[in-house]
């Protein structure tokens, strides 16, 4: 099941930005992702949607080589991960680090520049200016020097986003950036993501909230261990697809179905 672009006039397809081919991940004998085939071929805001434990985060980690694949391949603009790392920005889940660590918000954002600095080189004025700029873009210029544990949850999430911005990537992979974040931070994060899209970047977001998914993403993939459907949001978030993804959570489905139908009528 692929979300493919229309073939160009010459008949040869453009190289897709991200290509998952038959990706399979297993923890022990339990499959987490099974033969996931997904192609994202143009810059957009792309949502990866599914219930808890569906393997959404694992899909990102597999793409980044953080969990081993038992089968399949992932390519970025036709290149394997090793050659494409510098083009990928990553925002892990907020719970993945110890926020008592003795660094400031600015220090964390500066870490986004380490990839292009390479071994043993220290960040210089250019990197520092870039980090300051990225902090300002997520609205955190005034807490730059604060130890990260003394930021709110939404601010911490935005620090992670700013660090990814400092990577100056072409493709951004975000793992649940809206989880446990207040409405204002959510809006700010969404604005930054929209500006990335406007700048021609691909933004892939693992997201759990169906209600906002319909509103935010251009394209989505529904995942529950296997890929259920992928494509433009309005055509994918159908009651039928949602039922297949979220078997059991009926009330939620009805609500979202209504919201999607509403959106279909107005647009």
């Amino acid at each position: 099941m692929t979300d493919s672009a229309t073939p160009s006039a010459a008949g040869d397809r453009p190289v897709p930005l991200v290509e998952f081919h038959d990706v399979t991940v297993a923890y022990g004998r339990r499959p987490v992702l099974w033969n996931v085939d997904l192609v994202i071929d143009a810059p957009c805001l792309f949502g990866i949607i599914g219930p808890n434990g569906a393997g959404k985060s694992t899909l990102l980690k597999a793409a980044l080589g953080l969990v081993p694949l038992v089968g399949g391949t992932v390519r970025f603009a036709g290149e394997p991960l090793a050659r494409a790392r510098h083009t990928i920005g990553y925002v892990p889940q907020r719970e993945s680090v110890d926020w008592d660590f003795p660094v400031s918000a600015f220090d964390v954002v500066l870490m986004g520049t380490y990839g292009r600095l390479g071994w043993f080189r220290r960040p210089g004025p250019a990197e520092r200016a870039s980090a300051r700029d990225c902090l300002a873009r997520v609205g955190l210029a005034d807490v730059a020097d604060r130890q990260i544990g003394r930021l709110s949850g939404g601010q911490q999430q935005r620090v992670f986003l700013a660090r990814a911005l400092a990577q100056e990537a072409a493709i951004y992979l975000l793992d649940e950036p809206m989880a446990g974040v207040d409405a204002r931070s959510q809006e700010q994060i969404f604005d930054v993501l929209a500006s990335l899209r406007a700048a021609g970047r691909l933004v892939v977001v693992v997201h759990h909230d169906l209600r906002t998914a319909a509103e935010w993403f251009d394209r989505v993939a529904l995942i529950d261990m296997r890929l259920v459907a992928a494509g433009p949001t309005a055509t994918v978030l159908t009651p039928d697809n949602l039922r297949r993804t979220y078997s059991g959570q009926v009330e939620l489905l009805r609500e979202v179905g209504l919201a999607v139908a509403e959106r279909g009528r107005t647009s």
Partner: protein, 436 residues
């Protein structure tokens, strides 16, 4: 990170200055007249080891692997004994080489035990500590009991005996320590990145496993060069305690590393000085006691993270809340009647009475003398002073603002709530201490 770099660079400069042996030692020898040259060199060597142990230990602490050194340390004794039995020599280089091999074998065993038996980290560490140490003690006591020539003094590696070091030994320790510090300073960026967020580091292409192995090896090396001074049992303390103490005083990695290095050196130096005055004493316990005293002081008294500061701040915040709430009670009481109230009307319980004293002290309430209706029993009545009235109304407005913000967007309001103490809690200037 960046702020601390100059400090760490200075540390390296200092340490390498110490290890520049021929000229450096002459300078040291002339600097303190009356103290034997040998003692001075040994003191510098042990101080350099303490410094490097603190520096390397900071990284181990940040990477949440403080006990790796313990496993390595307890295995070293077997290595020391083994090296002696194999080579029959007892110069420091061969003994410490044996110790390093044993430490690395111990760390390898740690990884194996964890992987193969699926034992948890702490249990695996305990297994390696016990096994390695048992073997070491058996070997050393075997050598001592059989009276193998030259085997005396191996037990010094158990608790540390700095007095047994020669000037050449001390120079070796200095050189290794300087190299370890230089390596940490050189790769501080990389080590910090992995310690803070290993999955981000891996995602951006850094070899996390390699960096972890480098760190663990550095820890093993520091454990080994720490052996002569602190001994196998206590050398971990030199790796763990100074960084924990340093963490209390700073929120920056560079400063943390520099402080830990400084305090490691100071503790080691204290150990040498005390044991040279009392030759019967092993060095290790003295070093560790000095480090522990400082750590205790830090954990209790450091301004921001220390127990004392946190307790006092929490109490001040509670007082500010209580005073604010009492001020509102007074305002309501005075609105109900003629603007006066008695202390009993508004205070209920110990907290409120303490808060009352605050209001009184700040001049927010003032006393009136009044007679009761029958004109006989004097009743001491109070009212809000002009300032008190202003403050109470201001506080009420703010509280209403908070409540409205909370109704509009609970998550955002709660977030602000948890970060900045709401101003409505603060009634007095004295109580207006902010949590920082």
């Amino acid at each position: 990170m960046s702020g601390g770099l100059p400090c760490s660079a200075a540390l390296v400069a200092a340490a390498s200055g110490l290890s520049a042996s021929p000229t450096g030692s002459t300078v040291i020898g002339m600097a303190v007249p009356g103290v034997p040259y040998n003692t001075l060199v040994v003191a510098c060597g042990v101080a350099a080891v303490g410094c490097a142990a603190g520096v390397v230990g900071s990284l181990a602490l940040l990477r949440k692997r403080p006990l790796v050194g313990d496993a390595a340390a307890h295995a070293t004794l077997a290595g020391v004994a083994g090296a002696f039995l194999l080579t029959g020599r007892r110069d420091l280089v061969s003994l410490l080489t044996g110790a390093l091999v044993a430490a690395l074998v111990g760390l390898g065993a740690l990884v194996l035990v964890r992987r193969v038996t699926r034992t948890r980290d702490d249990a695996a560490t305990a297994i390696v500590i016990g096994g390695g140490f048992g073997l070491g003690i058996a070997l050393v006591s075997g050598i001592t009991a059989r009276g193998i020539p030259g085997g005396g003094g191996l037990e010094h590696f158990l608790l540390g005996h700095a007095a047994a070091l020669t000037a050449d030994d001390a120079r070796l320790l200095m050189a290794v320590s300087a190299a370890a510090i230089a390596l940490v300073v050189f790769a501080l960026k990389e080590f910090t990145l992995v310690a803070f967020d290993a999955s981000f580091a891996a995602a951006t292409g850094w070899p996390v496993v390699l960096l972890d192995q480098a760190l663990v090896t550095l820890v093993a090396v520091m454990v080994v060069v720490g052996l002569p001074a602190a001994g196998a049992v206590l050398v971990t303390a030199l790796i763990v305690i100074p960084p924990v103490a340093a963490r209390q005083w700073t929120d920056r990695v560079g400063t943390l590393v520099a402080l830990a290095g400084g305090w490691g050196a100071a503790a080691a130096l204290a150990g040498v000085v005390v044991t040279s005055a009392r030759p019967g004493l092993p060095t290790g316990p003295v070093i560790v006691l000095a480090a522990a005293c400082f750590c205790l002081l830090s954990v209790v008294a450091s301004p921001r993270r220390g127990w004392l500061g946190r307790t006092l701040r929490a109490a001040a915040e509670r007082r500010a809340w209580a005073a604010g709430l009492l001020l509102d009670t007074c305002l309501r009481a005075s609105e109900r009647g003629d603007g006066t109230f008695t202390v009993a009307d508004v205070t209920d319980g110990r907290t409120a009475r303490a808060a009352w004293r605050t209001l009184e002290h700040e001049g927010l309430v003032e006393r009136l003398h009044e007679r009761t209706a029958d004109g006989r029993v004097p009743r001491v009545a109070w009212r809000l002073s002009g300032r008190g009235l202003d403050r109470a109304r201001q506080r009420r407005r703010r509280a209403a603002d908070w409540a409205a913000a909370f109704d509009r967007a609970p998550a955002a309001a709660r977030e602000r709530f948890s970060l900045d103490l709401p101003e409505c809690a603060i009634a007095t200037d004295a109580g207006a201490t902010r949590a920082t």
